[in-house]
């Protein structure tokens, strides 16, 4: 239990150890730690930035979506208006066409009625002539009684 030269030997060993640690152990390890710290910090910053970007993109997407919705609504309204217009237009033309058709039908009917009346009149007048002839037992001269016939025909009108 006495102090002896071991002390000096131990001090030399210690000095060598400290020197070695200072020279070869501490700097590379502490450098690596610093670098890793930096890396982690950068990674975290990048992650944060990424999240920010996502938020921004989400906002943008929402904006676009809103715009698209408005646009589509506009388009739908326009299309509906156009469809209504087209319907209205076709209704109009259909109405006109129908009226035209009715008109022509009416004219035709009138014409046919006229014709029917004419032929009826002729029939009636010839019948009347026949009836009168038989009554009179003689041929009524068409030429002679032309005036009378046409008078009667006119009355039938």
């Amino acid at each position: 239990m006495s102090i002896n030269a071991t002390l000096i030997g131990q001090m030399i060993t210690f000095t060598l150890l400290v020197w070695f640690t200072m020279q070869y152990v501490w700097p590379p390890l502490i450098k690596a730690l610093e670098e890793r710290k930096k890396k982690i910090a950068e990674g975290l910053a990048a992650a944060e930035k990424g999240q920010e970007d996502i938020k921004l993109a989400e906002k943008k997407a929402a904006k676009y979506l809103k715009e698209a919705k408005v646009e589509s609504a506009n388009i739908i309204t326009l299309a509906q208006k156009r469809a209504n217009d087209a319907i209205e237009e076709s209704k109009e033309t259909a109405k006109l066409e129908g009226e035209k058709m009715i008109e022509s039908a009416k004219a035709q009917i009138k014409q046919e009625m006229q014709q029917a009346k004419e032929s009826l009149r002729k029939e009636v007048s010839s019948l009347a002539l026949k009836a009168a002839g038989q009554i009179l037992q003689e041929e009524v001269d068409k030429a002679k009684h032309k005036d009378i016939i046409s008078k009667v025909s006119d009355q039938l009108r």
Partner: protein, 254 residues
Amino acid sequence: MASEGGSSGYIVHHLTPLTVGEGFWTLNIDTLFFSAVLGALFIWFFKSVAERVTTGVPGLAQNFAEMLIEFVDQQVKDTFHGESKLIAPLALTIFCWVLLWNTMDLLPVDLLSLIGSLMGIEYLRVVPSTDLNATFALSISVFLLIIFYSIKIKGLFGFVKEMTCTPFGPAMMPFNLLLKTVEELAKPISLALRLFGNLYAGELIFILIALLPAFVQPLLSLPWAIFHILIIVLQAFIFMVLTIVYLSMAHEDH
């Protein structure tokens, strides 16, 4: 187990170092050998980690080394507020080396001396921190650094002024010098004796337990060993922290 000379002979045998030489020039071969081996172990581990160091995902060894380094670095940063390339590696070396010394205490007391006796070595004391030479070698080195940095930072004049004119002013010069000298000398002495005392006592208790009957020993040596895990780390930690504190005090200019 119990050698010739009874229990006291056994204890003395276990606490006697292996020596060569005479007088002051005696060398404690076991202390020198084991501390050198442990120092080499420390150097080998950290050097191998430092060579393969990566900034990416660290391996197990690197993780452990980084844990120690960050722990020491934090202690240094908390206490020492200057720029120094020396203090942090010094603190790491002290912590790891002393820790390894102390850990030798957990080896069974008879194991290495038995192996030694088989190899024809009569005395073997395996825990370097139970040798005053080892603890004083550390603390005197630290003491020399304290003096060196005190003079380097404050200048020779500033150092002399601090030694003579504080804490009571120039009028009390001799008294100040005495007080400061005692204060400075107390640092290495308390550092060395604290470590030595704790580990020497711990080893002594292990030896005493080893004297008891075999079936009682585990009951006592297990709790003591578990408690000692705390002691060995704590003593290494205290030595390191006080070294940092003393050196940062040396860096402070009043």
